[in-house]
């Protein structure tokens, strides 16, 4: 028997390029390349049933591990499966009939256990009969059902504390399927390469084509030796080496005479049940890792849990936690609607997304899940690592939550369009069939690393204290999508909001992450697109859109607020509550006439600004008003005042990216303008309009000269949105005006000197605008399609059409602006 065949570990077979004949390569095998076509084997290794394939393991080890696991199952089966008719050998005679009769009340008697098993079997059957009806030709056959039933029964008997819960069968079915798949693959290969699968009685390949051999298979070994010795051995060995390494693997794995004999044949149809049981057990137990599926089925908190909740609830909360960092507007929308994570996450987690995807897609996803290591991470140095979610403790757990969040983001737009929890849940529970799995997995991978960040995994759920200065909030910006998922830079800034960065760019080129800005920009654009879409529909004052918008705009406003807070910190300026009061006044007498607001604000601001520093406050308001008029006049098909503003919003909004969704503010309460139906809507609209206008004008001014308006916008932007729990009231109140003033001054001062930087920034802005335009346009395409799926509100749809027209005109203007900028 040529040693070269058996000794090289399996890892080498897939490393043909690295293989130096006979020596063991030191190259670590990327696990994904191992056994590419033998999914069942790969999963067994990943789940911990078989030893991981490093350069140290050989096929023999694999075989031994396989055999051991199978033996365990066989003994378990013998132990637990009860047939009361079969009396055990060596039992005392006469058997104690009082105990062992069918009507015996004793639960330990054979009959008692028999009836208990029968009860369990009935429960399992209820589920099994409904397993994968679309693949009924495979899963609904008696043989398959019998095997699955037995496996589940035995596992439940072994783990009486869990019992059987609905969903376990769905975890088992794909495991069984891939094993069967392997076996089929093996038999195919066997057919193709018959000659290599012949019995090797004596360690030699017996060539069936060998003429002298083909007649009589029962030759004595001596004779065989004589014949084959001369040429057979050399020929056969060579040919095996020449084989595709994958085929080689299969041959070696299915050798009936290797270690452990037939029990050790790694791919064996006979022992599918045993292997499936071992895989299922490993999956449920988590193999000493952090994610044990069995936990998800239990109703009581797991020992060592920090939150004292049942594990699946805790995991769902972890999911939401991650979502809040990634996409807080979606998160806040969901929380507003009252959609608790476990409503849908229960199903997702318990069955590992088995019900959301077709079997083929599911297998791909599970490939990735199992690839992630399940070992528990070392505790972080931070002392509050103990309060983290258990789900985040292992790489596999993180990946699972990342996939869930990626799925949520995938159907983001349809979720955001729902207005009551029922429809939202409906959408969540009927995940679209045609998702691109690869993209989803990529998204998930990026989110996985996000979940790794220490702050996220260790921060207490729900409330993120802004004052603690964690940069959790800041990190959440990456929206994976057409922009490709930007890994948000590990920002050292406490609040990595858009405004602050822009300020820094203008201010100095120190530590500004230009890339960071640009990366965030595309992601922000996506968000902005949403807002734009919604703003178009909003004309009807639908409560739905208003809530959605409110969520977004609140986050926007809060961003501004947070930014200003930061600025205040940086500049160390003290606040002026009266100034804020002025703003509040201006805000509150908001009516349908927005220009009033602006005027009021202008007045306020000008007061403030003039009081603080030498700033030409006279001109900005005027210019501002002029601009506004300009814009209004430019627009053509103007419906109501509102629509005009919306158009303004669109045109103004697109060039500049929206502020980021920062933290989760589920219930942002705006100071309601009295006498308005949709209070929040009105205020938000005002604020947003203000903000958008501000931004646009900022850009405009920047193009012309200095961003003097920035201060005004800041002031306006900081208009009192009633701060949420997460924000320090004082800070928000004090921040705006002072910071605005300071900023303006600094802008003035530095602007001259930092012209170069400005230009650079402008160019960047222009580019980003262009991208943004494209996004909007595509969004409108999508919007058209989506309009139908929204609530059947005819007027809404009609308006959408109108809105699109106006939007297109706005877009053309955007293009002009961008050209302008790029010239500069």
């Amino acid at each position: 028997m040529p040693p070269a065949l058996l000794d090289p570990p399996l890892s080498e077979t897939s490393l043909v390029p690295y293989l130096i004949s006979g020596t063991i390569s030191q190259e670590p095998v990327p696990e994904s390349r191992l056994f590419e076509d033998l999914r069942g084997l790969r999963w067994r290794i990943n789940l911990g049933v078989l030893p991981p394939c490093s350069s140290l393991t050989s096929i023999d080890d694999l075989r031994r591990a396989t055999a051991n696991s199978r033996r365990r199952y066989a003994s378990l089966r013998g132990q637990l499966l009860v047939d009361p008719h079969i009396t055990k050998d060596g039992s005392s005679s006469p058997p104690n009939l009082v105990m062992d009769n069918p009507l015996s009340q004793n639960p330990n008697s054979t009959w008692g256990r028999f009836f208990q098993n029968a009860e369990l079997e009935r429960m399992v059957d209820q589920d099994l009969s409904r397993l994968y009806p679309e693949h009924g030709f495979y899963f609904q056959t008696k043989g398959c059902q019998g095997i699955l039933r037995r496996i589940l029964l035995l596992w439940c008997l072994k783990h009486p504390e869990c019992g059987y819960r609905q969903g376990m069968h769905e975890l088992l079915a794909p495991l069984f399927y891939v094993l069967q798949d392997d076996v089929e693959h093996h038999s195919e290969v066997r057919k193709l390469h018959e000659d290599h699968f012949t019995d090797r009685f004596d360690g030699l390949f017996c060539q069936e084509n060998d003429i002298s051999y083909s007649f009589d298979f029962i030759k004595s070994p001596d004779l065989l030796n004589d014949e084959i010795d001369s040429h057979g051995e050399g020929v056969k060995i060579k040919s095996l080496d020449e084989l595709d390494p994958k085929i080689q693997t299969i041959v070696l794995l299915s050798d009936a005479y290797g270690a452990e004999g037939e029990l050790g044949i790694v791919l064996s149809e006979k022992f599918i049940e045993h292997d499936a049981y071992c895989m299922f057990e490993a999956l449920m137990n988590g193999a000493r890792g952090s994610v044990a599926m069995a936990d998800f089925f239990s109703y009581s908190p797991v020992a060592g849990s920090h939150t004292g909740l049942p594990p699946v609830i805790e995991a769902s909360a972890a999911l939401y936690h991650l979502l809040s960092h990634v996409d807080s507007s979606l998160y806040s929308h969901l929380v507003e609607l009252g959609v608790e994570p476990q409503y849908f996450a229960l199903r997702w987690l318990r069955v590992l997304f088995g019900r959301e995807f077709s079997l083929d897609n599911l297998l791909i996803i599970w490939d990735e899940i199992f690839l992630s290591d399940n070992s528990e991470m070392e505790k972080h140095v931070e002392d509050n690592a103990d309060t983290g979610f258990r789900l985040f403790h292992s790489s596999r757990g993180r990946f699972i939550s990342a996939i869930a969040v990626a799925m949520l983001l995938h159907i983001r737009s349809s979720l955001l369009a729902t207005e009551n929890p029922t429809t939202c849940l409906q959408r969540l529970l009927s995940f679209p069939e045609d998702t691109d799995i690869k993209k989803l997995i990529e998204k998930a991978k990026s989110l996985q690393t996000l979940a790794l960040s220490s702050e996220i995994s260790s921060s207490t759920p729900m409330l993120i204290e802004y004052n603690k200065g964690k940069s959790v909030v800041a990190r959440s910006i990456s929206i994976p999508c057409e922009s490709g998922s930007p890994k948000t830079p590990n920002s050292l800034l406490p609040d990595n909001s858009y405004w602050e960065e822009k300020w820094r760019v203008v201010h100095s080129a120190e530590e500004l992450k230009q890339d960071g800005v640009e990366k965030q920009v595309p992601s922000q654009k996506k968000r902005w697109t949403e807002k734009v879409k919604l703003s178009l529909k909003r004309t009807e004052s639908e409560p739905s859109s208003s809530t959605i918008k409110s969520g977004k705009k609140e986050s926007k406003a809060s961003v501004n607020r947070s930014l200003l807070e930061d600025l205040s910190k940086k500049l160390g300026s003290e606040g002026d509550t009266e100034k804020l009061g002025c703003h509040e006044v201006g805000q509150q007498d908001d009516g349908s006439d927005d220009s009033n607001n602006y005027d009021a604000d202008d007045r306020c601001l000008s007061k403030n600004i003039s009081s603080e520093n030498s700033f030409n406050s006279a001109s900005p308001p005027n210019e501002f008003k002029d601009l506004e008029n300009e814009n209004i006049s430019q627009k053509s098909s103007v419906g109501s005042n509102l629509s005009v503003d919306e158009i303004n919003e669109i045109s103004h909004s697109s060039p500049i990216d929206s502020p980021l969704p920062i933290s989760d503010h589920p219930e942002n309460n705006l100071s309601p303008a009295p006498g308005r139906n949709n209070d929040s809507t009105g205020n938000l609209a005002t604020i947003s309009r203000d903000i958008k206008l501000n931004k646009f004008q900022w850009l405009w001014k920047f193009g012309r000269n200095k961003g003097e308006l920035l201060s005004e916008k800041r002031g306006r932007a900081s208009e009192p949105v009633k701060p949420t729990n997460n924000f320090n009231n004082n800070q928000s109140n004090t921040a705006p005006s002072s910071t605005a003033g300071e900023h303006c001054s600094s802008v003035n001062f530095k602007g001259d000197s930092a012209d170069q930087n400005v230009m650079g920034t402008l160019r960047n802005i222009g580019q980003s605008m262009l991208e943004h335009i494209q996004v909007i346009e595509s969004a409108f395409q999508h919007e058209r399609g989506q309009g139908a799926s929204l609530d059947n509100n005819m007027s809404k749809n009609v308006l959408v059409g109108k809105g699109q027209v106006t939007a297109m005109s706005a877009l053309t203007e955007l293009r002009k602006i961008s050209n302008l900028l790029s010239e500069m």
């Binding site: 008719h85 009939l97 009082v98 009769n101 009507l103 015996s104």
Partner: protein, 190 residues
């Protein structure tokens, strides 16, 4: 794995108030698939109680039964076995094996279940089995006062039947087991 309960001759309420408590605790619904009752219940309440144990209930008429609609004899097939049911007061002499064998041939059954003697007996006879489950309440009979409450549970499994006999002796439940194997079925003559 079919469980069949055979009992009879309760004589409730005339000669006995109720089935013994220890028996009742063992008879829980859900385990038993069929009940065959030889007769002499006597009242409808007993019939209802048996019905709660198992929906598939077969009764033949005893001489003291108040419901006259029960048949005199009954045959049914469970698994590979044919069972015959009769109260037994019609077969004279009461409890005589040869006469009962005549009835068995007449009904053409493998297992014949009869009562009336209030004594448990089980005979293997001519390739078949004749079983008398006795009286479930231990009611006195026309023959004797010394009656132990007893009933029979048959576990029919393909070609094998295991007969468990439950007797209440001195307040304790005693269980006994008898195995019967049926020779391969012959083609039934038409």
């Amino acid at each position: 794995m079919v469980l069949v309960l055979a009992l009879g001759d309760m004589h409730i309420p005339h000669r006995a108030p109720d089935i013994p408590a220890k028996f009742k605790s063992m008879l829980v619904p859900g385990k038993i698939q069929h009940i065959i009752c030889t007769g002499n219940l006597c009242i409808k309440e007993v019939h209802d109680y048996l019905k709660t144990l198992c929906p598939d209930l077969h009764i033949t008429r005893g001489e003291y039964d108040e419901d006259s609609r029960y048949p005199e004899t009954k045959t049914l097939t469970i698994g590979q076995f044919k069972l015959g049911l009769c109260h037994g007061h019609q077969v004279i002499p009461w409890g005589d094996l040869d006469s009962l064998a005549m009835l068995q041939r007449q009904l053409d059954v493998d297992i014949l279940v009869t009562g009336h003697t209030h004594q448990f007996t089980a005979y293997k006879h001519e390739g078949g089995v004749v079983i008398n489950p006795g009286s479930a309440t231990g009611a006195y009979s026309s023959i004797t006062y010394d009656v132990n409450p007893s009933f029979v549970l048959m576990d029919i499994d393909a070609l094998r039947v295991v007969v468990y006999v439950y007797e209440l002796i001195d307040g304790e439940v005693k269980v006994d087991k008898i195995d019967f194997k049926k020779t391969s079925t012959s083609v039934p003559a038409l």
